[in-house]
């Protein structure tokens, strides 16, 4: 049973506009969330994380929002660039910021077109 779900397998956005990637989770014990980006034939690359004690974390063009009551998080990329085209994975952990097992969503393929 998938505890982390990314219901949109793909997203297409024009360069310069905002990309919003969504993620839902079912396990209320999850207390730390991460986003990874993956290019073909490479491993996932860490992007940004958020603890359950926060509702927003920002790093440059990337912002993650967490809505605990809805068990929902989203990644905003502003402005989107063609180099952002990749598969984005949402991941969750129940060990806080202590590195432990990560539960991954299936990923969303983001395509940013010029």
């Amino acid at each position: 049973d998938q505890q982390v779900k990314q219901n949109s397998p793909s997203l297409s956005v024009q360069e310069g506009r905002i990309s919003i990637l969504n993620c839902d989770y079912t396990n209320s014990m999850f207390d730390y969330f991460l986003w990874y980006k993956k290019y073909p034939a490479e491993g996932p690359t860490f992007l940004i994380s958020i603890s359950s004690i926060k509702d927003k974390n920002e790093d440059g063009r990337f912002t993650v929002f967490l809505n605990k009551s809805a068990k929902h998080l989203s990644l905003h990329i502003v402005p989107s660039q063609p180099g952002d085209s990749a598969v984005y994975f949402c991941a969750a952990s129940d060990t806080g910021s202590t590195l432990g097992r990560l539960y991954f969503g299936r990923g969303t393929q983001l395509t940013v077109w010029p």
């Binding site: 034939a41 491993g43 996932p44 202590t98 590195l99 969503g105």
Partner: protein, 112 residues
Amino acid sequence: DARVTQTPRHKVTEMGQEVTMRCQPILGHNTVFWYRQTMMQGLELLAYFRNRAPLDDSGMPKDRFSAEMPDATLATLKIQPSEPRDSAVYFCASGLVRGAAFFGQGTRLTVV
């Protein structure tokens, strides 16, 4: 440029053969993971270690898979005997006690 190194990058083997995948974690990282990515299951944890001690191998088929850390600079994942359903990309990742896990480029395994 610190990174997780996995070998081999690609492996094609016949059913029944033994397969060994190797991982060199980032120097200083004390937590090492093995994940597997398939079309059906996505990214799933097989096993992970902290300070070379196994913490969780519940995702690993015990009858044919084994994971070890002979020393702090080497993690191995072995499949014996291999089966076609083991075909997948196997990722090693490492990290410190706190923070994110950093992934290697993966080993693409094909069992024919």
